[in-house]
């Protein structure tokens, strides 16, 4: 058994260091550094996967990391089917997206900085996947959050991008705080931080439920689940490869991964599982409805991502560990593909409004067809990968005995097929809706698309196919209904039907197209009161605190003035008086010093005369 999996994150970290230090000199070569590191990580990940699947290699410890005062924490690496699968997904998708970025970012002025951040992200994400305890996980968890922030606001000259980065960071931070408290609580009640100990903790249920919910809180923030989903659509201000890698395939999946990783804890606490399921279901349905009415190509995909992550949470919540993690993998492939296609489209037409596009399939063959493959995969059409994973989730929900949740999941699937083919029909088919000079993207962008399309199509066969004929039939029917509805709405009758439906359900449409007013509610309930408090605090600061400081300054100024007056007039006065008296005396005395020789002679003569006179009188 060769222990080398802990080397995987080191390559991207090294690439980050090289690019951040020598990026200016490397220029275009910085992309090669990052991609080389990713390929090296991919190679080791493949070896680790093979070692785990066929050689029976498992978790191991690299060495003692922290040791003080009776507390000890090992630097461990976790190798199991889940982490190996995710390692492969992250390295494959990450490598392809970095190759794609060469084309997408080719004339950006912070080219090497972009690749440095991408490598930092890759390293943090891979480290997160390999962590075997909460402390390491939390470090890398914040690392990917930092990269997300840096890359969302990569074009920080645009105020919207800067604000989106801030929003993402603050919103996920709310969840992270929950996670951190959960970790503290876990450590103080059970004295363990290792994932492997979570299944059999012998303490009371209420505490464990709270811990599980707090950990889930972190997952909610990172995976953009309701009610912390608001940051992900805004995160689309970042470059599209970033959206594909971080905000579709990998980082947002970290929340689902966290729940899957701590699944032993959730399994013992039924209440927390129910929470996971219902939060997932609400998120899935809500985001799917918003995606169905939005008109920004990247935001549709962002809401689709939220919806699919909700789907995974729902699967985990009803006990479908297999289905949830399987969907995690397939989703990473097809959603990365869809985002890269969207990026290629945006690169070609320079707009994100789908109602300004149209008929692009003829002009962009590779992008268009891979887009359709991605759409079929996410809509759940056999034999594409999304079908298998979604089908497994549906059958697990049904098996778990949750008819309501099954209904929600089915409706979400329907909406998924609908909005995705709405997008495809509007963008790729029909006539151009505005003056566009679309052209196919360069090969450096289309080749990764084709490879990802192959993964999106066939990733469903990575594990043994399970045949559940009832749910399969239902699922196929749902997908085809969704696609059919989109066809009717946007190809056959693309003027009248959507408009008439819109006017008939005006209230509902307004509610959904305004994203259920979640941002507005947060604005009114949280942000504005916070601003008000900040205003008051700032007022207090500038009036009272600054006032006190200014008063102290004023007083010492006055004291200084008095002292300076005393010094100037009393102390200096005494000195000056001495000088003045001396000057006065000399002014009198110097009158005798006339400078006329005759005066001196006269004085000498009279002096002599007086002395003789005295001598004559006295000498008698």
């Amino acid at each position: 058994m060769v222990k080398f999996a802990h080397l995987i994150p080191l390559f991207p970290f090294a690439a980050f260091a090289v690019n951040i230090l020598f990026g200016r000199r490397l220029k275009k070569a910085s992309a090669l550094v990052s991609i080389g590191a990713s390929v090296a990580a991919l190679a080791i990940a493949v070896m680790a996967y093979i070692g785990n699947a066929f050689g029976g290699e498992g978790p191991y410890t690299v060495g003692r990391w922290i040791s003080f005062n009776g507390f000890a924490l090992d630097f461990g690496v976790i190798i199991d089917p889940l982490s190996c699968m995710m390692l492969l997904v992250v390295t494959v998708v990450g490598t392809l997206i970095q190759v794609y970025s060469i084309g997408y970012m080719h004339d950006d002025k912070r080219y090497s900085r972009f690749f440095a951040y991408m490598s930092l992200f890759m390293g943090s994400m891979l480290g997160l996947l390999l962590s075997d305890n909460f402390v390491m996980l939390y470090i890398f968890w914040e690392g990917v959050g930092l990269c997300s922030y840096l890359l969302i606001s990569f074009w920080f000259e645009r105020p919207a991008a800067a604000r989106a980065g801030m929003k993402a960071f603050v919103t996920t931070r709310i969840g992270d705080t929950g996670l951190l408290i959960g970790i503290f609580l876990l450590f103080f009640t059970t004295k363990t931080l290792y994932f492997k100990d979570l299944a059999g903790l012998g303490i009371n249920d209420a505490t464990l439920t709270v811990i599980a919910l707090l950990i889930f809180c972190g997952a909610v923030g990172k995976s953009a689940q309701f009610p912390l989903h608001v940051w992900l659509p805004d995160a689309m201000e970042g470059p599209t490869p970033v959206s594909a890698l971080i905000h579709a395939a990998t980082m947002v999946a970290a929340g689902v991964y966290l729940v899957a990783r701590t699944y032993g804890l959730f399994l013992t606490q039924h209440t927390s599982l129910i929470w996971v399921a219902y939060i997932g279901a609400i998120t899935a349905l809500m985001a799917a409805t918003i995606a169905a009415v939005n008109s920004d190509i990247k935001r549709i995909l962002a809401y689709s991502t939220i919806s699919q992550l909700g789907f995974m949470m729902l699967a985990l919540g009803v006990g479908g560990y297999e289905g949830g993690t399987f969907h995690l993998m397939t989703h990473a492939f097809f959603k990365a593909l869809l985002f890269l296609c969207a990026g290629s489209v945006i690169h070609a037409v320079h707009t994100q409004d789908i109602f300004k596009m149209g008929g692009l399939l003829g002009k962009m063959k590779a992008t268009g067809w891979t887009f359709i493959i991605g759409g079929l995969a996410i809509a759940g059409v056999p034999p594409f990968s999304g079908f298998w994973s979604k089908d497994e989730i549906l059958s697990e929900i049904l098996k778990g005995g949750h008819p309501v949740l099954f209904g929600v999941a089915a409706l979400t699937s329907l909406l998924t097929a609908f909005y995705m083919f709405r997008l495809i029909f509007v963008v790729l088919f029909g006539k151009p809706r505005s003056e566009l000079h679309a052209h196919e993207s360069p090969a450096v962008m289309t080749v990764p698309l084709c490879i990802l399309a192959a993964f999106a199509a066939f990733a469903g066969f990575f594990r043994p196919v399970k045949f559940e004929f009832f749910t399969m039939g239902v699922s196929i029917a749902i997908s085809l209904t969704g696609i059919g509805a989109a066809y009717v709405f946007y190809i056959l009758d693309n003027k009248l039907l959507p408009a008439s439906l819109r006017s008939r359900f005006a209230f509902l449409y307004k509610l959904v197209s305004n994203k259920y007013y979640v941002d507005e509610i947060y604005g009114a309930l949280i942000i504005r009161p916070c601003m008000r408090i900040a205003d008051i605090a700032s007022g207090f600061d500038s009036k009272v605190v600054d006032g006190a400081v200014n008063m102290a300054a004023c007083l010492s100024l006055t004291a200084g003035k008095i002292q300076s007056w005393f010094d100037l007039y009393i102390v200096d006065g005494i000195v000056n008086m001495t000088a003045n008296v001396t000057w006065l005396c000399s002014a009198i005395l110097r009158r005798f010093q006339t400078g006329f020789v005759q005066n001196y002679i006269l004085i000498a003569f009279f002096g002599l005369a007086i002395m003789i006179f005295i001598k004559l009188i006295g000498g008698r």
Binding site: R590, Q593, T594, G595, F596, V597, Q598, I601, L602, F605
Partner: protein, 102 residues
């Protein structure tokens, strides 16, 4: 024989003329000349008192000769100073020689 008082009056007159000159001349050379008069008044007194008070013969004359020699030397030094001052200050008027004054 000429009485002693005549000599003394002559000496005193000479001294008074010298003193007056020394006090009123504006030029340094005039003052030097007046001082020579005062010295000569002193010489007359020296010789007179030697003659009339009965000291050794010739003592007064010898003393007068001394005074003359010293007066010549002092006149030389005085004239040298006056010339040096004149070269530097282009003046021999004593009221203008005031650079040492406060």
């Amino acid at each position: 024989m000429i009485p002693q008082s005549h000599f003394l009056v002559l000496g005193a007159a000479l001294f008074a003329i010298g003193l007056y000159g020394a006090l009123t001349r504006r030029t340094a050379i005039g003052i030097l000349m007046s001082i020579e008069l005062i010295l000569n008044a002193a010489n007359i007194n020296l010789i007179t008192f030697n003659k009339f008070l009965g000291g050794p013969d010739g003592l007064g004359q010898v003393f007068a000769l001394f005074v003359m020699a010293i007066a010549a030397a002092s006149a030389v030094i005085g004239l040298v100073l006056v010339i040096a001052v004149y070269r530097n200050m282009k003046t021999i008027f004593t009221e203008n020689m005031n650079i040492m004054k406060w």
